[in-house]
C-alpha cells in the first residue's frame, strides 16, 4: 500500500484542485445567470457576460472536468494495472502544471483573449501548454498500462485510452491557427469550413470529455462500490466500439439550417440518431448491473448517484439526438432549451458520477469511511432538485422562445418583436438562478463532507501512529 502513497497524494491533489475550480466555475455560473435578468451586474471590462461566460464554461470543463478526469484516471489506472504510476514525479509535475494552466486560462479569458471557438477559446500559447499537459498525461497513462501487472484490460481502460487519443486529435486540429502576436490568432480554417471543423471538435469534446471518461468512471466505480459485477461484458464491447465510431460523424448536427452543405448535416443527423444505441448500451448495462440487487439503492448510498447519473445520461442521449432532427432543431436551436440540455448532462450525468467516484476514492486513500452518509444524501437531493429546476425551466423557456420567434398574425406578419420575446424570459431566467443556487448549496454539502472525511482520515492516521 505504501507504494501507492505518493501517487495517492497526486490523485488527491487533482481532486482538491478540480473541486476548487469547480467552485470558481459554479459561482461565475450563478453570476452570469443573474446578469441575464439584471444587466447592471455586468462590470466592464473584465466582468461582462461575454467574457465571464467563457470563464464559466472553460473553468468547469477544463478546471473541474479535466482536473477530476486526470486525478480519477490516475487512480483507476493504478488499480486496474495493479501497480503504481510508471512516472510518479511526472504526475506530480503534471498537477502543478495543470493548476498553472488553469490560472493563466482564467486570466487570459477575463482579459478577452479569445479564439471565439466554443470550448476552444484559449489563445495559441495556452493551447501549446494544454497539449504539453496532455502529452505528459498520456505518457504516464500509456506507460503504466504497458507495464501493467494485470493481463486483461478492463472496460474502463478502453475508455481511458479512447479519451486520451481522441481529445489529442480533436484539440490539436481545431486549435490550428495563424498567430498575429502573442495574444491573438486567426483560425487556420475560414467560414463554412471553420464552422465544420469547430463543431466536429465541439461535439466530440462533449463526447470525449463528458462521455467516455465518465463512462470509464461509471464502469469502474459502480461495481466497486456496490460489489455487483457488470451485467454484460459483450454489451460493453459492442457499446464501446459503436460509440467511439459513431461519435465523430455527428458534429454538424450543431449546424442544422446553416450554410454548411446539406449532405454533411444530414449525415450527422443520421449518425446522431444511431448514437442512441451505444449510449443506451451502457445505460442498460448499468441498470441490469444494479438490477441483480436493487436493494443496493437503499443499503449503499453511492448507488443512487450512479443510477441517477446513468439515467440522466440515458435521457441526455435521447434528447440530444432528437434535437438534431431538422423539425426539432428549427424550433429549439439558438434558444434557452440548449443550455437546459447541456446542464442536464453536466449537472446530472457528469457531476453525479464524478462526485460519487470522489466519495469512493477519498475514504480509500485515507483508509477510512465517509464522514457522513446523511450529508451525502442531502447533497444528492439538493443537486438533483437544483438541476431539475434548471433544466426543466430552460426547456419551457426554449420552446416558448422558439414558438414566439415563429409566431405570425392572421395577415402573416410577425406577431412579436424580438424585444417583446426577451421580456417574457425574465421569470424563467430568475427561476434558473434559483435552481443554480440550490445546486450550489448541494455542492457545498459535498465539499464539507469531503473536507471532513480527509480531516477524519488524517486524525485516524495520526492516532494509529501514536
Amino acid at each position: 500500500m505504501s507504494d501507492y502513497r505518493y501517487d495517492n497524494q497526486t490523485v488527491k491533489g487533482f481532486i482538491v484542485s478540480s473541486i476548487f475550480w469547480g467552485v470558481v466555475g459554479i459561482v461565475i455560473g450563478l453570476w452570469i445567470s443573474v446578469q441575464m435578468w439584471m444587466p447592471s451586474l455586468n462590470i466592464p471590462p473584465f466582468f461582462t457576460f461575454g467574457r465571464l461566460r467563457v470563464v464559466h464554461t472553460n473553468g468547469l470543463a477544463f478546471g473541474l472536468g479535466i482536473g477530476a478526469i486526470f486525478g480519477i484516471f490516475y487512480y483507476i489506472v493504478m488499480r486496474l494495472t495493479k501497480r503504481p504510476l510508471l512516472f510518479p514525479k511526472l504526475a506530480r509535475f503534471h498537477l502543478y502544471l495543470f493548476n498553472t494552466a488553469i490560472v493563466l486560462a482564467a486570466l487570459s479569458l477575463l482579459a478577452g483573449m479569445n479564439q471565439s471557438l466554443e470550448y476552444a477559446e484559449l489563445e495559441w500559447p495556452l493551447d501549446i501548454g494544454v497539449v504539453i499537459l496532455w502529452v505528459i498525461f498520456a505518457v504516464n497513462i500509456f506507460g503504466t498500462i504497458i507495464k501493467r501487472k494485470e493481463e486483461q484490460m478492463y472496460i474502463s481502460l478502453w475508455y481511458v485510452i479512447a479519451t486520451v487519443i481522441a481529445v489529442a486529435v480533436l484539440y490539436i486540429v481545431n486549435n490550428l491557427s495563424i498567430p498575429a502576436g502573442l495574444t491573438k490568432s486567426y483560425h487556420l480554417f475560414a467560414g463554412v469550413n471553420s464552422a465544420n471543423v469547430q463543431w466536429w471538435y465541439g461535439h466530440n469534446a462533449v463526447g470525449f470529455i463528458f462521455t467516455t471518461p465518465i463512462l470509464a468512471m461509471f464502469y469502474y466505480f459502480l461495481p466497486k462500490s456496490t460489489g455487483l459485477p457488470i451485467f454484460s461484458h459483450r454489451l460493453s464491447i459492442i457499446a464501446f466500439w459503436s460509440l467511439v465510431f459513431a461519435y465523430l460523424w455527428t458534429g454538424a448536427h450543431h449546424l442544422v439550417y446553416t450554410p454548411l452543405p446539406d449532405w454533411i448535416q444530414t449525415l450527422a443527423i443520421a449518425f446522431t440518431i444511431f448514437l442512441i444505441a451505444p449510449s443506451w448500451g451502457s445505460v442498460v448495462n448499468g441498470y441490469y448491473t444494479v438490477g441483480s440487487d436493487w436493494s443496493k439503492m437503499q443499503t449503499n448510498y453511492l448507488t443512487k448517484f450512479f443510477i441517477l447519473g446513468i439515467t440522466f445520461y440515458g435521457l441526455q442521449t435521447v434528447q440530444g439526438p432528437t434535437q438534431g432532427l431538422r423539425v426539432v432543431s428549427q424550433l429549439i436551436h439558438y434558444t434557452d432549451w440548449v443550455p437546459g440540455h447541456v446542464h442536464m448532462g453536466t449537472m446530472g450525468w457528469v457531476t453525479l458520477t464524478a462526485v460519487a467516484s470522489i466519495y469512493y476514492i477519498i475514504p480509500k486513500i485515507y483508509n477510512t469511511e465517509i464522514y457522513s452518509e446523511r450529508i451525502a444524501n442531502i447533497h444528492f437531493w439538493l443537486v438533483l432538485i437544483g438541476q431539475l429546476i434548471f433544466s426543466i425551466t430552460m426547456w419551457i423557456t426554449g420552446i416558448m422562445q422558439g414558438a414566439l420567434w415563429k409566431a405570425t398574425t392572421s395577415d402573416g406578419s410577425l406577431k412579436y418583436t424580438f424585444m417583446e420575446i426577451v421580456a417574457k424570459n425574465y421569470p424563467y431566467w430568475k427561476m434558473r438562478t434559483l435552481g443554480g443556487v440550490i445546486f450550489t448549496v448541494g455542492m457545498l454539502f459535498f465539499i464539507y463532507n469531503i473536507y471532513m472525511t480527509m480531516r477524519k482520515g488524517k486524525l485516524e492516521l495520526a492516532g494509529a501512529k501514536a
Binding site: N42, G50, W200, W249, F418
Partner: protein, 311 residues
C-alpha cells in the same frame, strides 16, 4: 483473436485511433479538400483595417455568446432578419462567428440596418432604447483608442490588403468606432431585397389613410410609436438620430407628403439614395413590413398626424 485486442494496449490504441478517424475523414477532412467548403461571393470584400479591428473587439467581448450571425432558411426567420445566410458570405471570417445562442437578436443582416448614431447610443446604453433589454453597456469602448501596430499585424495575418493611409486613419478612432464599422459591414455582401416593388419617382395617385383621425387607432399607434420609433424620432416626433416628424419637411425637402408615402417609408424603410415619391433618402431606417401589419402601419401614420396637429 479478437480477445487479444484487450491484452495489447498499443494495438488497442491504434485500432481506437483508426475508428475515431473514419468519421473525421468523411465529414471533416475530405470535404475540406473540395471547393464546396471554400465558397466566396463575388462582391464579398476583405475587411478594412477599421472593420477588422472592430471584429477583433467583437470577439474579445464575446458578442458571439449572445448573438448569432446566421439566418436560417425559415420563413419567419427571413421575415425577422432578412435574406437567409449564404455559404459564400464568410470566406474572410477566421473563425466563423455564427454563434449558438440568441439571447439577443441575430446580427447576420445588421449591416446598414440602422445609422451609426443609432449604434453609438445603443452601445452606450441599450436600456435607453429598449427598457427591457438585458444587454450590457459598451459605451466604455469609446475611451479606448486603437493600436495601429497590432491592427497591422492582424491585417497581415489575414492577408487583407491595406495602405499606409488606412493605418494612419486609425489613430483618431476609438474601439467603439471600430466595432460600429464592423457591425455596419456584417452581411452586406448580399443585396437587400426591397420590401415592396420600387415606386415610380413621382406618384400620380395616392391612397388615403383608412384610419385617419380614428381615436382607437391613434391610441394603438401611440403604443407602437413608443416601442419602435421613439429611440430615433423622439418622444414627440421632434427627431434625434432620425429626422423630425413634426417639422414641415419630408425627406429633406420642404412640404409635407401624403399619408401613403409615410406608409411606404415605414413599410420599406430607407437606404441612402432610395427615392420616395420624388424625394431622396439620405439615412437608413429599418423596414417594418414584417413586424407591423397594414393596419398597424396606418395606425402609426394616424398617430404621427396627431403629433403634427399638436405642434
Amino acid at each position: 483473436m479478437a480477445g487479444d485486442l484487450y491484452n495489447k494496449p498499443i494495438l488497442f490504441a491504434i485500432v481506437a485511433a483508426a475508428v475515431v478517424l473514419i468519421g473525421t475523414a468523411v465529414t471533416m477532412f475530405i470535404p475540406m479538400l473540395t471547393a464546396e467548403m471554400h465558397p466566396k461571393l463575388s462582391n464579398l470584400k476583405p475587411y478594412t483595417a477599421l472593420q477588422l479591428a472592430g471584429k477583433d473587439i467583437y470577439q474579445r467581448e464575446g458578442c458571439n455568446n449572445c448573438h448569432t450571425q446566421t439566418v436560417r432558411p425559415l420563413k419567419t426567420e427571413v421575415m425577422r432578419y432578412g435574406e437567409y445566410s449564404k455559404a459564400g458570405e464568410f470566406a474572410y471570417d477566421r473563425p466563423f462567428l455564427w454563434g449558438s445562442k440568441r439571447t439577443g437578436p441575430d446580427l447576420a443582416r445588421i449591416g446598414g440596418k440602422y445609422p451609426d448614431k443609432w449604434h453609438e447610443i445603443h452601445f452606450d446604453n441599450p436600456q435607453s432604447m429598449f427598457a427591457e433589454s438585458n444587454m450590457p453597456a459598451y459605451g466604455w469602448l469609446k475611451n479606448n483608442t486603437l493600436d495601429p501596430a497590432s491592427i497591422e499585424r492582424h491585417m497581415k495575418a489575414n492577408d487583407f490588403p491595406y495602405t499606409s493611409d488606412d493605418m494612419a486613419q486609425l489613430k483618431d478612432k476609438t474601439e467603439l468606432d471600430a466595432l460600429i464599422a464592423y457591425v455596419q459591414v456584417i452581411g452586406t455582401a448580399v443585396k437587400k431585397a426591397p420590401a415592396t416593388a420600387a415606386q415610380p419617382a413621382i406618384k400620380e395617385t395616392h391612397i388615403p389613410n383608412p384610419l385617419a383621425g380614428d381615436p382607437v387607432a391613434i391610441k394603438q399607434g401611440a403604443a407602437m410609436y413608443k416601442q419602435h420609433c421613439v429611440a430615433c424620432h423622439g418622444d414627440n416626433g421632434q427627431g434625434g438620430i432620425g429626422p423630425s416628424l413634426v417639422d414641415k419637411m419630408f425627406l429633406y425637402v420642404a412640404g409635407d407628403m401624403p399619408d401613403d408615402d409615410y406608409f411606404e417609408i415605414i413599410n420599406n424603410g430607407t437606404q441612402p439614395g432610395m427615392i420616395e415619391d420624388g424625394r431622396t433618402a439620405k439615412g437608413g431606417m429599418p423596414s417594418y413590413s414584417n413586424t407591423l401589419d397594414k393596419n398597424k402601419i396606418w395606425a402609426l401614420v394616424a398617430y404621427i398626424r396627431s403629433l403634427q396637429a399638436k405642434k
